[in-house]
């Protein structure tokens, strides 16, 4: 419509305008370099602004619409839009971006309307919207392939027409030869039926031949023999053609080179991507392992909650008797998380936040009732284990009574059992320890009866200097030592009790089972007897003579030199029984011959021997599935309880002196200052060192996130896990 209007009357105007604007055109290239900064107003734009001033008042929305859809936003519509909702905008700087309502836009309208009005699609809008964002992204210097091979070059090298010259050359080389019927031959060779209609290029003369005997066509043709002439001799290509072909070939070779570099760059890119993906996969696998660990933890927690449920139900029924010494359920098998003060969560993991110093010799045994409860620790050449309050970190008192170094301790709530080198086991009531007076008994002294009467406070403990069974019953009511169990002839090196039953192992190479109610020894299990009778009793075990040099002296004193610890120290290891634990009537013991034995406490026989360690076993623990044993051969072996096979062997640098494990980790004292923790799900080792011991760690015990360790530096350290 409006296209017809500006006919002749405006031709002049246009020409004049063009004449005016010609110098402008040549001016604009320099202007483009300072395009953004300047507000270069060409004459054309001035005219635009003058004529279309009323249309410049526009708010944001109409401007955007104008930008994107000039064909919709004809001048009329823009005008109406601006008058309806207009807000005068302060005109700022650069021209073209600002005033869209200019002649160019108007000029577009007829073009758009004229040429088969095409709808603005979403793709158009998408493109235009994207420009702004794209312009902001950085344009780096091209390097690598990009600088060597430009996109255009690659284009020319890879488009199909690049192949044209090659096929053209091939065609040039094709020679006019008489029809040989190769196609038919080929198809026959492939077993396909030949097309009977294929008579192209055949001379009439040989048609009969073709119908009757197709195969013989080639040889029976007459008059067309070429003889010995070479095919290439018939063709004359000419110099121009040949030079052209040479150039083409050179170019084709360059194209090949280009394509090769393109492909190489793609290959390196893909390699990088694969590496990145591999990294992501490794990270995800680690996350999976973490989830597995969490699941195990939750399983344990579930067990703990179930037990707690039962416990709370039974305790509501049970009448509490404060005086009678009740032996509570063993904490060794308790799995769920422990009750900790809320402040414990604020502790950073893996540090020793408390140190208990009182001993003057290396720690030989320790155990505690619960986190922040009561700790009992014993050290070498000290007959009196110390009792500590873990909440405050102060010593409550001492357990006096033993006449030899205490080698093993187990604490369950208020009950404590200690075994010592004097061959006795004492049962202590820890509630009575803080009644202890402040009269400093010297360590290790055996006080005679006369001294006791002189002190005369009435609540003193009477030492058991005389070893007789009757004396046990005469102790003072406030004496922490509730009972003394005698029977072993040599040092009691390990013990384990649960409910009413206690099992001890001693250097007289026997294991004794005791009833804690009566204080009597119920059964004695002789390890030497088990060794010598092992071949008959044990199916599937290793050689019964898997004894090594040091322990071959099964007669006489057992003494094995320990491998040096991290600080180079070593001593003679004389504990024949390194560890015991039982559950129900199943007992597991680790002994100086390096064997882990499983006993049936009903019969007293060892029904299985697990061979594998090559040095005395020093520590032992089992749960429903696994047995873990540590030994002087610097390894910890994890066995399958049911089959007796080894699951895992953890190797360390020094002899293992103590261990404890659960489904997720194994915590071990391995002759170093740091405590070794092995994560069973991720199979990673780690060490606890922060504020740690200054000499090798000897003993440890943990519950949930609370770990207590004792070392040769005579200190006991408390860690948060």
């Amino acid at each position: 419509m409006s296209e017809d209007k500006p006919s002749s009357s405006n031709q002049d105007r246009r020409r004049n305008a063009r004449a005016n604007l010609d110098p402008l055109i040549t001016d604009t290239p320099p202007a483009t370099t300072s395009y953004r900064a300047s507000s270069s107003t060409s004459k054309l734009e001035l005219v635009q602004k003058a004529l279309l001033a009323p249309f410049h008042r526009r708010n944001g929305s109409t401007r955007i619409l104008q930008d994107l859809a000039p064909v919709i936003m004809t001048p009329k519509m823009i005008n109406s839009a601006s008058t309806v909702s207009s807000r005068p905008r302060a005109v700022a700087d650069s021209t073209i971006t600002r005033s869209k309502m200019d002649f160019a836009t108007l000029g577009r309208a007829p073009l758009r309307l004229g040429m088969g009005s095409r709808r603005i699609t979403s793709r158009d809008l998408e493109i235009v919207e994207a420009t702004e964002q794209l312009l902001q992204s950085e344009v780096p210097e091209p390097d690598g392939v990009a600088s060597n091979v430009s996109l255009l070059r690659g284009f020319n090298a890879t488009i199909p027409s690049a192949e044209q010259s090659r096929s053209r050359r091939r065609q040039m080389r094709s020679v006019e030869a008489p029809h040989i019927g190769l196609k038919k031959l080929g198809m026959n060779a492939r077993g396909l039926l030949t097309d009977e209609e294929d008579h192209e290029g055949q001379s009439v003369a040989s048609e009969d031949d073709v119908v009757l005997v197709p195969r013989l066509d080639v040889t029976t043709r007459k008059g067309k023999k070429r003889g010995r002439e070479s095919l290439s001799a018939t063709k004359l290509l000419g110099k121009d053609e040949l030079t052209r072909q040479r150039k083409e070939i050179v170019r084709d070779k360059e194209n090949l080179h280009v394509r090769r570099s393109l492909i190489n760059s793609e290959i390196t890119e893909i390699t990088h991507k694969i590496e990145a993906l591999d990294d992501i996969r490794a990270k995800l696998e680690r996350d999976l392992l973490k989830l597995q660990e969490d699941e195990l933890e939750l399983d344990d927690e579930l067990e703990g909650v179930k037990e707690r449920l039962e416990f709370e139900q039974t305790s509501s029924r049970r009448s509490s008797s404060a005086n009678a010494l009740q032996i509570p359920q063993s904490s060794r098998r308790r799995k769920g998380p422990a009750f900790l003060p809320s402040e414990h969560d604020e502790l950073p993991p893996g540090i020793a936040f408390m140190t208990l110093e009182s001993h003057s010799t290396p720690i030989t045994a320790l155990d505690f009732s619960e986190p922040y409860g009561t700790l009992v620790s014993a050290s070498q050449e000290d007959n009196q284990p110390r009792v500590w309050d873990l909440f405050s970190g102060s010593e409550i008192g001492r357990l006096r009574g033993h006449t030899g170094t205490v080698k093993c301790v187990q604490v369950e709530d208020q009950v404590c059992l200690t075994g010592s080198e004097d061959g006795t086991v004492r049962v202590w009531d820890l509630r009575k320890v803080d009644i202890e007076d402040a009269n400093g008994w010297d360590e290790g002294e055996i006080v005679s009866l006369s001294d006791v009467s002189e002190e005369g406070e009435g609540d003193e403990e009477r030492p058991n200097g005389i070893r007789s069974a009757e004396q046990n019953n005469k102790v003072n009511a406030n004496d922490p030592c509730a009972r003394v169990l005698e029977g072993h002839t040599k040092a009691v090196t390990t013990l384990f009790f649960e409910d009413e039953c206690l099992v001890t192992g001693a250097s007289d190479k026997t294991l004794r089972q005791w009833d804690l109610n009566t204080g009597q020894c119920v059964m004695t299990m002789d390890i030497l007897w088990a060794i010598s009778h092992a071949s008959t009793a044990v199916p599937g075990s290793g050689l019964p003579n898997g004894l090594f040099a040091g322990a071959a002296a099964s007669v006489g004193t057992f003494a094995v030199p320990t491998p040096p610890a991290a600080d180079g120290s070593w001593d003679m290891y004389e504990d024949y029984v390194g560890g015991v634990q039982f559950w129900g009537y199943g007992l597991v013991s680790g002994s100086g011959d390096g064997a882990v034995r499983m006993w049936d406490m009903r019969t007293g026989q060892a029904h299985r021997t697990l061979m594998g360690h090559t040095a005395p076993v020093t520590c032992l623990q089992f749960d429903e599935i696994h047995i873990a044993s540590g030994s002087l051969d610097k390894t910890i072996r994890i066995w399958d309880l049911r089959t007796g096979g080894v699951f895992e062997t953890l190797k360390y640098d020094h002899a293992v002196t103590a261990l404890q494990f659960d489904t997720r980790k194994v915590v071990a004292a391995t002759g170093e200052n740091g405590i070794k923790i092995y994560n069973r799900t991720s199979m990673q080792h780690s060490t606890l060192l922060t504020n740690g011991h200054t000499s090798p760690v000897e003993r440890l015990r943990y519950m949930d996130r609370y770990l207590v360790s004792g070392g040769r530096d005579t200190t006991v350290k408390i860690w948060s896990l």
Binding site: T33, F103, G107, F155
Partner: protein
């Protein structure tokens, strides 16, 4: 360092339908393999931009934009091709922006300079048409007004 770029006239020469088909098939084959090489994408995009159909040009520019986003090393070339694509489509503003960015980086690039000139010519040409429209509208307006006034004075 000057990048090797085609003159704008090259964009006016379109590929044959068959060639474009081949490029399209190549592109789609690589799409189905979930890894499209840069060269394939560019080939197809460039073939589309060269085509006279507006739809193709839009598609081509979109592919070029994808390339721009994903390949930082190729961005400088893409600037030129994007400018060229927009110029063909008539989006002179976008074309100018891209071309200006390229000229920032390479002030001596012959193709970029010639493209800038072409863009300005295009803008000016549209300006004339617009001016002509305004003039025509003014002429019509005066004629109508004049006839009205004449009618009024006559009566």
């Amino acid at each position: 360092m000057t990048t090797e770029l085609p003159y704008a006239a090259d964009a006016e020469v379109s590929l044959s339908y068959d060639e474009l088909e081949v490029l399209r098939l190549q592109y789609e084959k690589e799409l189905s393999l979930a890894h499209v090489t840069v060269q394939t994408k560019f080939n197809y995009a460039w073939g589309l931009v060269k085509s006279p159909l507006r739809d193709h040009q839009v598609e081509g520019v979109k592919l070029l934009q994808d390339l721009y986003r994903s390949e930082p090393s190729r961005r400088r070339e893409c600037l030129y091709y994007l400018a060229l694509g927009h110029y063909k489509m008539g989006n002179f503003d976008e074309a100018k922006k891209f071309n200006a960015l390229l000229l920032d980086k390479e002030p001596t690039n012959m193709q970029a300079i010639s493209l800038a000139q072409l863009i300005d010519k295009g803008v000016a040409k549209e300006g004339y048409i617009g001016m002509a429209l305004v003039g025509g509208a003014a002429a019509v307006g005066t004629i109508v007004l004049a006839s009205l006034i004449r009618r009024a004075t006559r009566k």
